[in-house]
Symmetry: C2
Subunit: 147 residues, 2 copies
């Protein structure tokens, strides 16, 4: 048994879990007009910026989400358009941008958080119960279950 084969196997597993879970999150959040990345950003803002003055600068967020700077920029623009966050320019560094949740954003996050957690629990919640019951329904990815 090659060491490479074991790695390959682990990699396939990661790929599988990632695809399935990601897709389920997307599906669960879609009715709210959110994607997985959107939630990731919202969640970051909630957990990171409860302090008043400590508004997140885009710069700080880039390292914490799995998105390029440009993608994050557009995503924030989208969220702002939907009234979930607000962009304010910061005085100390006038090329920086502060991003803060609006009341609506915070509310929506609170609303969908349980759903995301439920998906997480369902998809990677230690499937000691039934190793091949629901989640591992085939090694497949996302596209299997039509929306």
């Amino acid at each position: 048994m090659t060491a490479g084969a074991r790695l390959e196997e682990r990699w396939r597993e990661i790929l599988s879990v990632h695809a399935r879970t990601m897709c389920e999150i997307d599906r669960a959040l879609h009715p709210y007009g959110l994607g997985a990345s959107d939630f990731e950003v919202l969640d970051l803002l909630v957990t990171e910026g409860p302090e008043e003055g400590a508004q997140c600068r885009v710069q700080n967020m880039v390292g914490r989400v799995h998105l390029s700077q440009s993608a994050l920029s557009r995503l924030i623009a989208r969220l702002e358009k939907d009234g979930l966050v607000e962009r304010t320019m910061c005085a100390e560094d006038r090329r920086g941008v502060y991003v803060a949740l609006t009341r609506g954003g915070r509310h929506l996050h609170a609303e969908v958080l349980p759903l995301q957690r439920a998906v997480l629990a369902r998809m990677l919640g230690d499937d000691e119960t039934a190793p091949d019951s629901a989640p591992p329904s085939g090694p497949a990815g996302c596209a299997r279950r039509p929306m």
Copy 2:
């Protein structure tokens, strides 16, 4: 400590590993004109279809890669354009399509396989060595290291 928080943590970890590894594979294979998905398909064809008559039908592949049917169709078209695979229609079921590696495709796969394995070993090769040395350089994702 919430159970949800533990799940969240696991999820972040998966997200992180996935993004980093995926990106590295892309980077490693890019010089050969391949992406991670392309390799996944090539690899599937190599490991799945060494038998002569047992050519893969697209249908069978869909479940094994993390791609939608349409994406797979286009991807195969791309690979065919590059001369790595060949599409032949099968006689028993005339709406089915057989996909087979060409000699060049097999060769290219053999050529890049070590690279992919190396990335895997580097990224998720049990980082017992240094938990926060290279891979976990920040919780960041892919976009951190410009191409």
